[in-house]
Symmetry: C2
Subunit: 312 residues, 2 copies
């Protein structure tokens, strides 16, 4: 009995420029990166909106990974959300050059009975009122996670706090966790946010990996050490896809620390593949044996044993 | 047969202001923080210089940890190196408010036969010509590590490169490794620096921990998640003390990946204790059982197991 995971978020076309190349009109958006990553672990239902320019080849990328796009609304005559950005050599910061919200500006998520019945739900980075409306429609979801960003922290804080009170997991960048909590120390920032309801906080730390804060303690994992990052776009959403996707497959069970840690590793694995190539290129042709091999590499690069000094 | 480790670096008085308090005239300096941390693993010989203001209580801190200060030169009528700095809430960046080099300005390390005979050597952050002179005097040192900083990378690059060519390990902050190599990607930056001679590069990453780059691969460890960092001064030197101190105890043996990883953990453990209180306060009264307990906590916060998803 394969459980299902509903994701609500953006579907986009991206133009991206990095030191390693330029790509135009690539399939992108948080819900897309998330869905592809999560598809290795559970059935995924994507709720989003696109314009008339969204074509068969884009649908095929999602369908070939088994992503259910029945709830991907098409606005006749509309244009799909468009983002153009540039990364410089450090690749840590995206410089947004152009954003055209297009049909995404008026996005009102419409969930079919199927999407509402999923056992797990991911609220990608959209307006927190919409996130909350979706959350309330998915009464059967026993595991719900959300992502957000500085824009909503600054412009819709009260709504965001209400939504955070309704989810199990919050995924944020370090800087966002600090801004949201008003606390510079990340350990305390996570404690503050958990006091609002969520059982777990995932701090995404870019090239430094990711950290998990729960009642049971702290877990940290480095990022996979890549010598070339072709395109960081979607790394955070791919992480979320691996993390939430794996947990969705366990929705309804007790999510033990062991399961949460494995989810963190799957998230990191998916993020690491995502950035190896542009857009969705790498994850679209990824295989599960590749994922499992990289999981093993994460074990090798983080494991150690106690050796007592020869003389104390 | 206890091996010995010689360290050459600064001995200082520090005035430090952090959000958690203010302290004046604290014992500090890279060689001091390093020596105290390393003293848990091996015999330590400190080579440095102080002024007439360096008193019995400062000596006692070092002596009580067994640090050999026979080569701590005293300049009659001179004043000890003085640093005054402030940390703001993020605690990641030291703001230097005042530096008085005093007797350190004319420091010419003078090594006794004992100091020259040590099996291991740490060249703390001093002028690279001096580092090289010391390195050449310590012919028996089978393990040599070095720290440096942006100031020498910018003002004495050719000399620094020559010195780097003579050591086994280079310890740097991420930003320093990038500046030194001219490469933004840290994995490649470490590869470039290793091509100049050192077998290993340790990238110190502050609140994100530390990473080790060797021929055998990559190892990464988070920092210990402290809710309060009282004073970050000396964290890097304490890390180096734990790391090099543990390796010094194995000098002459093959330094296996297993030994290097344990050294990384000891470095992280010592750094984490160092920042819990001001100056040398915490490490000065640290015990080995406390170190070993925290080593175990590092294992708990980084370990995970492969769990395959229920359905692939």
């Amino acid at each position: 009995m394969k459980r299902a995971l509903t994701v609500v978020g953006s579907v986009a076309f991206d133009n991206v420029e990095t030191p390693f190349g330029v790509r135009e009109h690539m399939l992108g958006g948080s819900a897309v990166h998330f869905s592809l990553a999560a598809s290795f672990f559970t059935r995924v239902r994507l709720v989003g909106v696109v314009g008339a320019d969204f074509g068969e080849s884009e649908r095929a990328v999602l369908s070939s990974r088994g992503v259910d796009i029945d709830d991907l609304e098409v606005v006749p005559g509309g244009e799909t959300f468009f983002w153009r950005g540039r990364y410089d050599y450090d690749l840590n910061t995206a410089h947004t050059l152009e954003t055209r919200l297009n049909v995404f500006a008026d996005f009102k998520p419409k969930l079919s009975a199927d999407s509402r019945s999923s056992e797990a739900l991911f609220l990608a980075n959209i307006q927190p009122d919409l996130q909350r409306e979706v959350r309330e429609q998915c009464a059967k979801a026993s595991f719900v996670a959300l992502d957000s960003m500085n824009y909503w922290i600054e412009s819709a804080r009260p709504s965001l706090l209400r939504t955070i009170g309704l989810v199990d997991a919050v995924l944020l960048n370090d800087a966002e966790a600090r801004e949201l909590s008003g606390v510079a120390n990340l350990v305390r920032a996570a404690r503050v946010i958990r006091s609002w309801g969520p059982r777990m906080i995932v701090a995404k730390q870019g090239e430094y990996g990711a950290a998990l804060f729960t009642d049971e303690g702290f877990f940290s994992l480095p990022a996979y050490p890549l010598e070339e990052v072709a395109d960081p776009t979607g790394a955070g959403d791919s992480f979320a896809g691996g993390f939430v996707g794996f947990l969705a497959a366990h929705a309804g069970e007790k999510l033990s620390d062991k399961i949460l840690r494995a989810a963190m590793v799957y998230g990191s694995v998916l993020a690491s593949f995502n950035v190896e190539e542009f857009g969705t290129e790498r994850v679209a042709r990824l295989t599960f044996p590749e994922i499992e091999r990289r999981f093993g590499e994460f074990q090798r690069m983080t494991s150690f044993e106690l050796i007592r000094p020869p003389i104390v």
